[in-house]
Subunit: 180 residues, 2 copies
Amino acid sequence: MSTRDNLLDAFEELLIDDGERSATLEAVAARAQVSKGGLLYHFKSKDALVEGLLERLVEHAQIDAEQMRTDPRGPSAYYVDTSVYAGSALDRSLMATARLIQETPRVRETMQDIHQRWFSIILQEVGERGAARAVMLIGDGLYYNAVLSGGTSAEDVAGTDPDDRAELLSVVARLTGRQG
Amino acid sequence: MSTRDNLLDAFEELLIDDGERSATLEAVAARAQVSKGGLLYHFKSKDALVEGLLERLVEHAQIDAEQMRTDPRGPSAYYVDTSVYAGSALDRSLMATARLIQETPRVRETMQDIHQRWFSIILQEVGERGAARAVMLIGDGLYYNAVLSGGTSAEDVAGTDPDDRAELLSVVARLTGRQG
DNA sequence: GTCTATAGCTCGATAGAC
DNA sequence: GTCTATCGAGCTATAGAC
């Protein structure tokens, strides 16, 4: 893997596990097993490091949106089912980026863009605005619970239980009008 | 108002508007129109300041839980309807505290406690676990959107529109079995 | 109860050797 | 492409005057 990606991985891990404050240039460099100078060769400033994180997030989100559109269960079921933190590349990008809200406006704008795109896809499937919003909010709620549970193991996160997931998906099916 | 409460208010405002990093002792003292030494007389350390914030949060949450139980529309409708950021004392406490997750474990524990209590109340009303979870998640999603929208004016926050709120409440009514 | 001054530390960023 | 060394700024916390 490129040193660049290695550094971004280290940055993500630190953000998720220890938060914004702990994700200093020195800590990122240390975790990537590079010196601070080595880091600053690839990213000229901390802003550049954040920008690199956002670029990767957008890439992952685009791939995810495509899978969301083509999933046989439909976008809504896909969205709710994948909103539980499972440690995917997108999950990690999102969790890490969430720690940086109000660091710079770019972070919030990027996350809102992605969020808006998801909503468009779900609205297209569901048709009705109210139900589409409810589905979105359930996914958002799951994501919020993951953030609230923080860097702790995914085991404790609400929604990991298979029965709970099935139950929730049936509620979503009712809301979307599919098989419900 | 006591200087203590004044300082906690200033701390909250800074956290909401500018984030954890900007909420330094100096900044808090300045916003409360007190010197840094004055602040440190009331709160011996930054941890003590955070602890003060958590105590107020718990107080507000207890009052809110009581209103939730006694609201004529039922706890679920109350929860979803009040999860939209409206600038109440509880809203501000929650938003501010949300910025401090992963600062110390105490923050996360306190928020999870409050969250658990809300769930108990809703489950008691709804009866069925799956539906109760769905209702909770919708509220959580609204709250997450508020956090995502950050310190920006509440106008842009999804869920502020009266029609949207009514539509959402009817979905909740369907899930809880009330009037739906 | 509130103030100023400052010690001690850590951060982001630069400079320059290799 | 990676390293060490260091500067200047900003942070928490302490000491002591008023």
